[in-house]
């Protein structure tokens, strides 16, 4: 079970990483296209190699249309896809200084309560994101340049949000079991070495 959920969280994170890399390449191509477009329109290119310049312009060398919108939608997906890994590796920033002297038992109770609340918040976020998607679906709103339905963007993000919610609930279960049994099932921040 632990392996299944960690595997899912890692797979989502790698998927998000691939999307991030794709967005970076897309932005790079868009910048290159814009630079070349300006160059080919310039006096230098038009007087020295007008044939090549106009051929390239006709072929559509220029910034990628809607790159901005793709980055926004893709980035939201990537961040949601990154959440489960952070959840399962206890990667969230905390202030440890005042709780370091608590007894192991008190510390486990605190951790269990925190994880339960966190899980509830992640479930609410996923649920409300679904509502948000449903209302975008009803309104039929489209993105400005690409004219794709906005609810697509929400749907992609929802995939990550749902996995994050599942991971959150799983971690809450793990911490409750640890609190009741006094055994350590998952070491917090075990993968922090990355």
């Amino acid at each position: 079970m632990v392996r299944l959920v960690s595997g899912m969280a890692r797979a989502m994170a790698v998927l998000g990483g691939l999307v991030l890399a794709a967005l970076i390449l897309l932005t790079g191509i868009s910048v290159a296209g814009r630079v070349l477009n300006t160059l080919f329109h310039g006096a230098f290119a038009q007087s020295w190699f007008p044939g090549l310049a106009n051929w390239a312009l006709d072929a559509g060398v220029g910034p990628v249309n809607g790159d901005f919108e793709l980055v926004e939608a893709g980035m939201a997906f990537a961040v949601f896809a990154f959440l489960p890994l952070c959840q399962i590796t206890a990667g969230h920033a905390t202030v440890d200084i005042f709780t370091s002297r608590l007894s192991p038992r008190a510390s486990r109770i605190l951790q269990a309560v925190t994880e339960v609340v966190f899980a509830a918040v992640l479930v609410i976020i996923a649920w409300k994101l679904y509502d948000g998607m449903a209302s975008k679906l009803r309104s039929g709103q489209e993105t400005f340049l690409l004219q794709t339905p906005v609810w697509w963007n929400y749907a992609a993000s929802l995939a990550g949000a749902v996995v994050a919610a599942i991971t959150g609930v799983f971690m809450a279960g793990v911490r409750i079991l640890e609190m009741l049994s006094g055994r350590v099932i998952m070491v917090a921040g075990a993968e922090a070495g990355h």
Partner: protein, 437 residues
């Protein structure tokens, strides 16, 4: 209770949660959500959530954050850390304390292609720590040098913290990056001076090594050209308006990715590890940003930030006293809290206060100068005991050195930081001189 009271009571409530080790992002999210519920009923926070998580995570200017993080991961894989260290060592290594100075120089160079302190500290330690120990540098002195050097990762642009500040304070990222250049160089110089003072006080804690011939020095210097190219392209390109900061971050990630690829550092396994590491940090940062957006939305509704800034101005305090208090606050809180959380938590309160005071500068200059001061003040927190993150990361790499030894030696570097904060606060021109008009 009036809305203002609820707003004011949210501060102790939030601090209590944070000190109970509730993740900082979650603490802000809960305080903000419950606060909104108290002020205007449960429907408001729930309705906000329908669009606010998506719109926060899809904010175009925030896409710089994961891009810079991935760029830093690739920079780590590209072998540039050892090339930088070799170059710095061949020029400085024979001086007294020279290998430690070289580590600082290499950190500064690495900071120019990496926007994260922790990554800089960890990467440079892997290269420089064994060398320092081999040349007879004391354990605590070596780890403290690298911990301090690591903060250059964020002080020298590109810098993730500055990106967040720019968004919160609605300032121009390109100008902030430019303004950070001289303070960043001053930081490196300050650390070099600290080292030369330290080795004169404790001559037995640093060894010596023979000088390197000039031909070899030149060759070592030539090896770092990719770093200069990427830094020049990213920071120069953003500044000259060739591309937006997010586009610059993309170009930087592609650049360091290519370096890593051609140096054989980029394999399937390291690529996946880079993704996982970027994923963890990105998720952590964005969850804090989400919590802060929620909390600050609530605060704005209760009018607390305006009331505080009106109060401070009406009291007629000297602007410099207020500024000093704010910086001291950052230095103290930096001992227990990470820099991004601190900025997200405090800028919405402090920024209107500072902007309402008269420092004899234009609003934009005040905002940029204050941003750099905050950046430096929170960065000191990375190397202040007891929970300076850089100290832990590096100490974990050198098992023989007790952390107390690191604490003792790092005090010298903290002193250098404090001197620099005072200098930059007293002479805003140092920060602003590079800015046009």
């Amino acid at each position: 209770m009036s809305n203002l009271d609820i707003g004011l009571w949210s501060f102790p409530a939030l601090l209590l949660l944070i000190f109970l080790r509730v993740p900082i992002g979650l603490s802000m999210f809960l305080t903000g959500g419950i606060g909104l519920w108290l002020v205007s009923g449960l429907n408001l926070p729930l309705a906000k959530l329908k669009t606010e998580t998506y719109s926060t995570f899809s904010t175009y200017s925030l896409s710089i954050v994961p891009m810079f993080l991935l760029m830093g991961q690739f920079a780590t894989l590209g072998g540039m850390s050892s090339a930088l260290f070799r170059a710095a060592e061949s020029w400085l290594g024979h001086r007294r304390g020279g290998v430690a100075m070289a580590a600082i120089g290499a950190c500064a160079g690495f900071g120019a292609i990496c926007g994260s302190s922790l990554a800089t500290a960890a990467t440079m330690s892997r290269v420089a720590l064994p060398e320092l120990r081999a040349y007879g540098y004391a354990g605590g002195f070596s780890t403290a040098t690298l911990a301090a050097g690591g903060t250059l990762g964020i002080l020298i642009p590109p810098s993730v913290v500055l990106v967040i500040y720019a968004i919160l304070a609605e300032q121009n990222i390109a100008k902030l990056f430019l303004a950070a250049v001289i303070p960043g160089v001053l930081a490196a110089l300050g650390y070099l001076i600290t080292i030369s003072i330290y080795v004169r006080l404790y001559p037995d804690r640093a060894g010596t090594r023979p000088p390197v011939p000039y031909g070899e020095r030149m060759r070592a210097l030539l090896d770092v050209w990719p770093v200069l190219l990427v830094f020049g392209l990213v920071v120069g390109g953003i500044y000259l308006g060739w591309f937006t900061p997010a586009e610059g971050a993309s170009i930087g990630a592609i650049g360091t990715g290519l370096i890593a690829f051609f140096n054989g550092g980029l394999t399937r396994k390291t690529l996946i590890d880079s993704f996982l590491s970027t994923a963890r940090s990105t998720a952590m940062i964005f969850f804090i940003i989400l919590g802060a957006a929620f909390y600050n939305g609530f605060l704005a509704l209760t009018q607390v930030p305006q009331e505080i800034s009106t109060f401070v101005v009406s009291q007629g305090f000297s602007p410099w006293v207020v500024l000093t208090l704010i910086i001291v606050f950052y230095l103290i809180f930096g001992c227990v809290m990470d820099s991004l959380s601190m900025i997200l938590l405090t800028i919405p309160i402090f920024f209107p206060v500072v902007m309402a005071l008269d420092f004899g500068m234009s609003a934009e200059h005040t905002a940029i100068w204050f941003g750099i001061l905050v950046l430096i003040a929170v960065e000191v927190g990375l190397i202040t005991p007891p929970v300076g993150l850089n100290l832990f990361i590096i100490n974990a790499m050198d098992r023989e050195t007790p952390i107390v030894e690191t604490y003792k030696a790092v005090a010298f570097f903290i002193a250098s930081d404090v001197v620099r904060v005072i200098l930059l606060a007293a002479f805003p021109i140092i920060t602003l001189v590079l800015l046009p008009g």
